[in-house]
Amino acid sequence: MTKLNIFTRGLVKENAVFVLMIGLCPALAVSSTVRDGFGMGLAATFVLVFSNLIISILRKNIPNEVRIPIFILVISTFVTIIDYMMQAFQPDLYRALGVFVPLIVVNCMILGRAEAYASKSSVVNSILDGLGTGLGFTLALTIMGTIREILGNGTFLGLTVFGESFRSAPVIFMIMSPGAFLVIGILKALINKYVKRELR
């Protein structure tokens, strides 16, 4: 597999949210606005790339029996780092993401890539895989955030679209929890019908 393929696989063909259907909890909960979705995606990408990197470096020294605790230690260290960094430099985003930043630890997408890929692959490939999967996750959250914010709040990145009359009475339903399920369901249906088959 070429380097480009490793990168794009996680981005589109095996997109964590839309194709593999993993990491759905943050995808549903933190996609009510574009900014939240994008921020969450980048935070997860950061953790994914660095945990893949470290686990790939250590892969020959990790005894098989304790690999899961070690993966979790490495992942939670990077989650804590990004948690502190966001608190210090992006307090607004930090408060918007709330409990979902610490919960990146248990995002099965990250542990999944560590277990299935980084612990068996070279350092460069692991970084590319982490980057691809992370940006695929970011892409999914940003798409969902865009749809939900435009319909549910009448704005895109806080800027009014469709004029003030829509802004004052938008489809509030879309930024609430049921809207997340609806959006992901419709997107998944569209992807199944038009995209997935061609990529196979």
């Binding site: 250590l58 029996e65 304790v66 307090p91 607004d92 509030i172």
Partner: protein
């Protein structure tokens, strides 16, 4: 056996390395986090009442607001009434008379859990602006007999805010009391000794008792009028101030005019035309207060 040992050692080394790295990250970010936190709190206070400095009285709950000369301009406090989706964090500013200078409700990003698009509209200036310049007595929804217009389809959140603000004022109003400088009504005195708690003080300078300062309450046109009077041994009124929240806009307000209050220093003034009820109530209050407390300096 070697397998077990290697497991333990690897896990130990990884855990210690992670802990060391995290302690460095913590040491690096901790001051920044504290600074950011403090700045956010401060900007919330500034929206409620503008002042030069905020002195914390009760941690994270109550502040005295001071101007650049160190004079007290009012208080700021935070309340968390229960709304529809959870507690609503509200910052309320009060000036020295107990009038609301502004309120600020935390946004969803800062922990507000009201329904987006409905209850969350309480953060909008069209709602929060209604509280500015109001007294505790008026802070209630219109359907509850107050002057605050509820947000359509968000009555629970609106009521939680107005009731929370009113109860907050009732709780913290006592902190305004020391803000009323008794020196203002008795400029010559340098210290005051309390005779009746929160009501009557001796005005003292160089161990001499110069006179009295007292606080009284009378029924005005709409609300109670609370006032403070300085009265010297020589039967002179040294100053009168109105402490309580504004009465009615425009008319009853006139009793606050310096010009009117200054007249007391010479003799008891005439009632103000157009604000007869309020000004007569104040004049009567000052007279009966003097009659009542005179004996303390004779």
């Amino acid at each position: 056996m070697t397998g077990t040992r290697q497991m333990v050692i690897t896990l130990f080394v990884v855990a210690v390395t992670c802990a060391v790295i995290l302690s460095f990250v913590y040491a690096f970010t901790e001051p920044r986090i504290a600074e950011t936190q403090a700045r956010l709190t401060l900007s919330g206070l500034e929206e409620a009442i503008s002042a030069h400095e905020y002195v914390e009285v009760v941690p994270d709950t109550l502040w005295q607001a001071l101007d650049s000369l160190g004079n007290r301009v009012g208080i700021v406090f935070r309340v968390f009434p229960q709304g529809y989706g959870g507690p609503i964090p509200i910052t309320v500013g009060l000036n020295r008379e107990g009038t609301i200078t502004g309120i600020r409700i935390a946004s969803a990003a800062e922990g507000l859990s009201e329904t987006p698009g409905l209850g969350a509209k309480i953060t909008e200036p069209t709602f929060t602006g209604q509280f500015t310049d109001k007294c505790a007595a008026e802070v209630a929804l219109e359907q509850d007999g107050g002057a605050i217009q509820a947000i359509t389809a968000a009555t629970i959140s609106s009521r939680a805010v107005s009731d929370g603000v009113r109860k907050g004022i009732e709780t913290y109003a006592e902190y305004l009391a020391p803000a009323h400088d008794k020196k203002e009504v008795f400029p010559k005195a340098s210290s005051f000794s309390e005779i009746i708690a929160d009501t009557l003080w001796y005005a003292i300078h160089d161990a001499d008792t110069l006179g009295l300062v007292f606080v009284g309450v009378v029924q005005g046109y709409l609300n109670d009028i609370k006032f403070m009077v300085g009265y010297s041994k020589g039967s002179q009124i040294t100053g009168v101030t109105v402490l309580s929240c504004r009465e009615t806009e425009g008319l009853g307000e006139k009793i606050r005019d310096e010009e009117f209050l200054d007249k007391f220093k010479d003799s008891i003034p005439e009632a103000i035309t157009g604000a007869t009820v309020s000004s007569e109530a104040l004049i009567d209050g000052v007279k009966s207060g003097i009659a009542r407390f005179k004996e303390y300096i004779q």
